[in-house]
Amino acid sequence: MALKFPSVDFFRELARRMNADRATFEKLGFCDAVMGVRVLGKAPHLYALTFEVYDCTEVRELGDASEAELDFTLQAPAELWREMLESIRQHGQPAPQYTLNSLSHIGDRMQVVYEDPEGHDKLYRFMATIQAYFDNARDLEIEWA
């Protein structure tokens, strides 16, 4: 069954896959961060993903960033999120220009929004875990909103 992107169900499915794959995520180590995902477009959405220890423990949609204590938010237009997810689906992992690191660094196509610098650092300290969470979309059937 296809999952709609963006949607709470989509991110919950990635969380379910993460929590089921102990071997990968225990190997990557502790990851403690609350991450915002903002999808810009005609109908913008903001999601809060809570990572604790080896799991993604909570996924919820926010009306406003102030509704959660976000360490950092990755913000990009819906088309760019789609290109990134398509790249993951095509190769099993993103092409170098579509990793979260490259997107938020080279040409700043994806913005990193943060208030607390310590929160911002977490994006880099936990990058492999966060990327692996998104790479769980590799064989997901996605219905684009």
């Binding site: 502790f30 220009q97 990793t99 080279i106 650092d121 880099y124 300290r125 936990f126 990058m127």
Partner: protein
């Protein structure tokens, strides 16, 4: 042998007599009376196990220590009963908490231990054979690996050099910087292995870079060494790693940079939080740190040497044809500008916003912008 001790313990006759007594079962057991106040220590979060911060109780907590440690001159663990007399003086020179401490250092230590990885098995080396990398790109990449392997050696040596100067009561900092030694040794290893893995091998070492690196190792105080290594040097290298994932010839290097980048970011976080702790609690050091950085930032420009720059341009533009080089110059210019910008942001966060106005890097930034504009014209 340079230390003979004040006693020859092998001929201490009192002790020899006591041992004979003990063997007959005559124990003194006086030390049992030293039983101490008990504290409940258990994992606050069982998923994490028993963490360093769970052990911050009573006399064992860092907060129970005075700002300056005067009584422990040896290697007594924090909270243990200090020997009343004859403790050898191991000469710790970093005895004030602000000399070494960083906000959240306990968390960084746990994170470091939990996020270790293995160069031999966590990088998919076997996949290299699947890709046909043009020779000039492979050579450029090996030149970059040579510099990085060199840089990482100093990053291993700096924390190792300072650990035994730290008072043993600052165990969390000693633990964290030990984890950094291992991280950096692993980084040196991964770049060495990558240079060798496709047959080209290590290329030209850099005299300019080694002078810059000597400046880190020879810093007069731990805080100066830390601000140079963790905030300035590793900050620049972190931006370079972030860019290198993008210019990786294959997913093998992509993985390699993703893993080193996480370690590097942790070291930068520690350095930032140490600098911030120092500025918040011992602001009298501000002038000295600024003077030091005036020189350190000049030295750092030694990290930009022509082989490394050209290699990055070739990798960034994916070749040596004029259009590749033009693209490469643009990519490298953008990332170097970002290195300087991010460094100023970090200084600001740590409480040194004045770097933005007095840094010798500003001149370099202007030169780079001008060069970039010329290349684009």
């Amino acid at each position: 042998m340079s230390y003979y001790g004040t006693n020859d313990y092998s001929y201490n006759s009192d002790f020899a007599l006591r041992v004979r007594d003990m063997k007959k079962g005559n124990l003194d057991l006086g030390w049992l009376d030293q039983a101490r106040e008990r504290f409940e220590v258990r994992p606050r979060d069982p998923r994490r196990g028993l963490e360093v911060s769970d052990c911050e109780v009573g006399p064992y907590a860092i907060d129970a220590m005075p700002e300056v440690i005067r009584d422990n001159r040896g290697i007594t663990p924090r909270g243990a009963i200090l020997p009343v007399s004859y403790q050898p003086d191991l000469g710790p020179t970093l005895n004030r908490k602000t000399d070494v401490w960083a906000y959240r250092v306990q968390r960084y230590w746990e994170e470091a231990v939990s996020r270790q990885w293995n160069v031999s098995t966590d990088v998919p080396w076997q996949d290299l054979a699947k890709y046909d990398i043009p020779l000039e790109l492979e050579i450029a990449f090996c030149q970059l690996c040579t510099l990085l392997s060199e840089v990482e050696m100093i990053a291993t040596d700096l924390p190792a050099k300072w650990s035994h100067h730290m008072n043993s009561y600052f165990q969390e900092v000693k633990g964290f910087i030990s984890s950094q030694c291992l991280d950096e040794a692993r980084h040196s290893e991964v770049f060495r292995k990558r240079a060798l893995a496709n047959g080209v091998g290590l290329l030209k070492a850099s005299v300019r870079s080694e002078h810059a690196l000597k400046g880190i190792l020879e810093a007069d105080s731990y805080s100066e060494g830390s601000v140079f290594l963790h905030v300035l040097g590793e900050g620049f290298i972190l931006t370079l790693f972030r860019s290198s994932e993008f210019i990786s010839p294959t997913p093998v290097e992509q993985r390699m940079f993703q893993l080193v980048m996480q370690d590097e970011a942790r070291h930068v976080s520690y350095g930032l939080q140490h600098l911030k702790y120092l500025m918040d609690n011992a602001p009298e050091h501000r002038a000295q740190i600024n003077l030091f950085l005036d020189e350190a930032e000049k030295l750092l420009t030694g990290l930009f040497n022509s082989e490394q720059l050209e290699a990055m341009i070739v990798l960034g533009g994916k070749g040596t044809k004029p259009e590749n080089i033009r693209r490469g110059v643009e990519a490298v210019g953008a990332f170097q500008g970002k290195q300087i910008l991010e460094y100023f942001q970090r200084c600001e966060r740590a409480g040194l916003p004045e770097r933005r106005d007095r840094s010798p890097l500003l001149e370099l930034q202007h030169q780079m912008i001008a060069a970039l504009q010329a290349a684009q014209a």
